[in-house]
Symmetry: C2
DNA sequence: AATTAAATACGAAACTTTTCGTAAAAAATT
DNA sequence: AATTTTTTACGAAAAGTTTCGTATTTAATT
């Protein structure tokens, strides 16, 4: 059972996905209002983008009512993972851990967050059965 | 002394920066050959991009010899930091540590890398004077 | 029922990024 | 010296993304 990967969302599409993830099922008007909290966006602009997103498989819509209701068709996690992979590749030439170090150094982290990360590392180290040596190609 | 920030490199420009960082001073032909190892790119395409990069301040060139020699005008670290900040904002809504966790989970890490990260975290925790509680806005 | 309001559909303009054709200049080769 | 090769310069086509104007449809209001 092959699953065709949906395309990477563009920046504007990602903004809309953020709204759909945060709010759940929403109308174009609702999404547009959230976007307009940050910057001015025309209603039909948002509408068009959301229609495109349906075509691409990034969003789904319920057309049973007059005012269509949209939902994200991709999860936040999957999207973040896909974008992260791409980003690590292009910007850090695949060196994910180098990026992790940069992020730790440049961004504010709370004690609890750091603890969480430490816990994750412990878990990774204990469950590490093979291929753990050296940096990958 | 204000320093005007150079613009974010586009994807194609970033590819070229990677080559310049890896190889150091290079001619258009050299860069183009490296790029062509991955995908077919016309010579004048690469030339044009590199010229644009000079205009933008991303690269510098020595025109004293007939065959111009280009170098990166921005460091890899600064560029990575800038792109990382933007990426965290747009894709993880600023939640850098959430991204760190994803990266740790999704990518292969060696023992030594994990140790390095742990050491960095220890260091961060010891040097943490304020603002450490809760997640940021 | 006529008018106003709200929503979708469609297409194209505007803008950004990438790609390349063609010309001109300079160097190397024959 | 003529020819071929290499390189840069320039401009514009091609492709991708974002924005919005206008028309149409459907619902709500008067």
């Amino acid at each position: 059972m092959e699953k065709k990967p949906w395309p990477r969302p563009t920046e504007a599409e990602l903004e809309i996905l953020q709204v759909l993830w945060a709010r759940g099922a929403s109308t174009v008007r609702e999404v547009n209002e959230v976007l307009n909290a940050n910057r001015e966006v025309g209603y039909t602009t948002t509408l068009k983008l959301m229609q495109i997103m349906v075509e691409k498989g990034l969003a789904a819509r319920d057309t049973s009512t007059r005012t269509h209701v949209y939902t994200a068709a991709v999860t936040e996690q999957d999207t973040q993972r896909q974008l992260l992979d791409k980003f690590v590749d292009t910007t850090f030439r695949g060196a994910a851990m180098k990026m992790v170090m940069q992020a730790l150094g440049n961004h504010q982290a709370s004690e609890s967050e750091l603890d969480e990360i430490k816990a994750l590392i412990e878990q990774l180290e204990s469950g590490q059965q093979s291929g753990g040596s050296g940096t990958e190609a």
